[in-house]
Point group: D2
Chain length 297, copies 4
């Protein structure tokens, strides 16, 4: 199977809602805006896309919209992980048919205590055996309470249809251990902008960062400067972006990310319940953080 080049920055894009319904036109216009920012592509149906709140039909239409709106050279990666193996495969096939280039598959996690190595190896191998598009593993212990350690990733990386990993653990030691064990064309993507600079300097191919929804150029800039060997500039930008990234992830979550998008020319809008929209007070705090980082005047 031909390998996929994922060297670059991918935002795990948000899903816009108006009155609780997916606003496909707003999604398309966000994509068109992002098309001009130097990104390598998009991750759709990720955690920041509130995928757990979307019906199967909505998921398909969201992927379709992104594929249609993305610039031709953009890579579209669809989050297709469900709790059951069968449902995950079905959604992966749907996304492939709609034009996604790869599927990003989170570890099933409801029965976390039973998701031991044998069960997860079987799950991912079944998928990879049957998926028409390449599979990327998605490690996000913050949400799943399961960690994919280096040995596990290395073992799965040998499957010809498993071509990479998004690791959102923020564990740089683990990134190093993984890079020590996988082939050089296996795409290790750092999954959070908080360690984008560190992930890239230790050897990651690229990054999937919530921050890239609101600061795509800055993330691309960190990537470009690291690749050019201009460490000081890259570090400086990374340190400047840390507070923004904390705001749109750990501190204010998806609602905060959407609020920041609204301030920066994208359509953010409200999340679906039970996620609560950012309060006025929270929006003021987010605005101050964006101004301090010079993303906003």
């Amino acid at each position: 199977m031909a390998n996929l080049d994922l060297n670059g920055i991918f935002p795990p894009i948000t899903t816009p809602f108006i009155d609780g319904k997916v606003a496909f036109d707003k999604l398309a216009s966000n994509i068109e805006h992002w098309n001009r920012t130097g990104l390598k592509g998009f991750v759709v149906l990720g955690s920041n896309g509130e995928y757990v709140y979307l019906s199967e039909e909505e998921k398909r239409r969201v992927v379709d919209t992104v594929v249609q709106s993305a610039a031709k050279e953009m890579r579209v990666i669809a989050g297709t992980g469900c709790e059951s193996t069968t449902e995950t495969l079905r959604l992966t096939e749907d996304c492939a048919r709609l034009g996604a280039h790869a599927a990003l598959v989170v570890t099933p996690h409801y029965y976390a205590g039973r998701m031991k190595e044998a069960a997860l190896i079987k799950h991912f191998t079944e998928l990879a055996d049957h998926s028409p598009i390449p599979i990327l593993l998605y490690n996000v212990p913050k949400f799943t309470h399961i960690n994919m350690a280096a040995d596990f990733v290395a073992r799965l990386s040998e499957h010809p249809n498993i071509v990479g990993l998004k690791d959102s653990s923020a564990n740089v030691i683990q990134l190093g251990e993984i890079l020590n064990r996988v082939a050089s064309d296996f795409n290790v993507l750092v999954g959070t902008a908080g360690v984008l600079f560190s992930g890239l300097t230790i050897g990651c191919a690229g990054g999937v960062c919530a921050l890239a929804n609101v600061a795509p150029e800055e993330c691309v800039n960190i990537f470009d400067r690291v690749k050019a060997g201009d460490l000081n500039a890259a570090r400086e930008l990374q340190l400047k972006m840390i507070p923004v990234n904390q705001a749109v992830t750990a501190v204010y979550g998806v609602p905060g990310l959407k609020a920041a998008m609204d301030m920066l020319g994208y359509f953010g809008g409200d999340p679906r319940l039970p996620l609560l929209a950012s309060s006025g007070q929270e929006r003021s705090e987010i605005e101050a953080i964006l101004k301090k980082a010079e993303l906003l005047d």
Copy 2:
């Protein structure tokens, strides 16, 4: 709204599969078997029912089958918790229409960090305001990584359409704190057989126990003896059941529970992937535990 009497034992029933498809006839025959064991009713679409692996259509048919097969006096409680508020309400309405007497609603948990008090209060209040059947809260931190503390439960217990709680935390101090704060007709159900005796002696109305899938009479016996004040007999039976309960929950999980059902005259069958069926070795261990507890000759 009239109150619901849930004093007694409820198994959170498993969902039988044959070749990966829901075996509705096996479900019906299990129910008929359980109808004769002294249970107060059934919890359907709970964690032990692999609800996260069922499609919406399968969920509705499972509830329908249980309602149709349950003896007339049985209370049927349907697990209707989804990640989004809207989807949870829709499934609750469907289950009400199919004849469920109450809905058991787990805390949304994917964005656990954002599921703070305000978000959860809004979620449960919205549901309770609009649900045609009474709501039971479902606290299962082992799976959700969120705990509903006593103050939170007490606050929600004041809603006229929230009539009880299944607490699977195994935290007896918390059960005491809750009982101290809620009205006496609020149904506090202990959610794991490991503390069935302790939950009942501290004042719980009843129990929802995975163990009751395989040892319904023993669970009912513990309930009856506590109510009759025969503490020694109840304790003795509780201590005897602890290893069985550990086996069908923490140690071997849902696959082990299903394996034990197969040994005891029910249809257990295999779980859906990625849950792996118990191995031959595990089945031997389970069999030995059932024999030692005199559930099997």
Copy 3:
């Protein structure tokens, strides 16, 4: 080795300080006060005794004072657990010489990741082999981040000089599992008043409860009523005591326990730094809780 009868209630007593120095006279007068409350004995140098803040010399003088002040029939149990095996044995020998009847030994825990079964078995076996007085295991995962599971306790319980366990995990399932596995004369003591009633009804010999510092008669009453089969009275008292117990443990900690002692006729005083004394606001809250539980007028 003759067995020790520990059926009853033991407060893990606080250590009084005046101007940062141990106030031995206040300690003696507290003991004399407690002598008249129906307690079975005392635990000295436990977590509530701020043992980690005492020098070796202070520890010896504290034990000496307690032994001298305790009524003749009282059992004195000294906390002798240190990080190193050698230091623990030396302190145990000192306490034995001073007249302690048993030693309570916490799991070493600084290198928690290395304190696997083999290391801990060796530690406790070495101690038990050489200690002139019987050893009680002390399981307090809240402080040590290590749990002694039932199999581990059962294995150590076979040593003739290991005669019991204080389990402060508040895990009633685990208490049941332990009782299933140990001989009937092995003293299983429930280590927190929050589950005193539940521990005793499931079969524990007695309790070591911080609450017994401030409400000794109530704790003894719960014990006596459970033993007399008067469950309703025992449960009612347990439920009434839960808020007090939460206050003097989880909510306000050792400083809160000492503040409550001051309100109830004992000498509490301030803890050593870095523990901060309860603030005026906290004292008001504690006072309200004591009044609501009718411990204070």
Copy 4:
């Protein structure tokens, strides 16, 4: 107060024992060996020094030995954190008198639930106010279960006698947040070799690394190459050292570190009980890891 230059690599040295007694001559010869490896100085009485197993007298003699044996230009940092504020100050004064240049003070942690900001601020401020030598904060959540977040560190960094931090959290985002908030002459030392390269590239002054006990030249090399801007060489060496570092920390612990020292020309010896010496099997595994990393032929 004059500032301390801690730009460089410090091993948190082990404490050698023979027959359970501190082997001061072996300690001195290890120091003499390390004096010739490019290190900036030594951390003595840290976690790797088994400080929790040493008596006060042993601690003083160990510090004295290190000060006497260290080359003149070496900085000696003594770990003086005890549970109580008073005891910590006394040990700090002792170490100052013996010639230590700074004190490294771990967060008190036994009563972790009470060690909130106010208590810890008071603890460190008291110390810093009275200590004759500068204080370094020591953040090691793996052992203490307490994390010092960036705001907390920033606040304490304003004290003129608190001159730096050893952060062993391996959390590179947090290192970035701290660097964003403290003055440029505040010494942020990365506390684990697993993120030495990442810590230095993000802007840390130096590193305190267990690995530097066995691979001092390699650690110094990573430091020198990062400072020289030779990122590729530094990264390559970092990746090569990760398995060694995992072995002598997370996997085999202090016993494994000591075993590796024995293989590499230092005196390691056995740890004190209850830490168990590495088994023959473990030593073989460690040897293989050292060979693979070309530290051993």
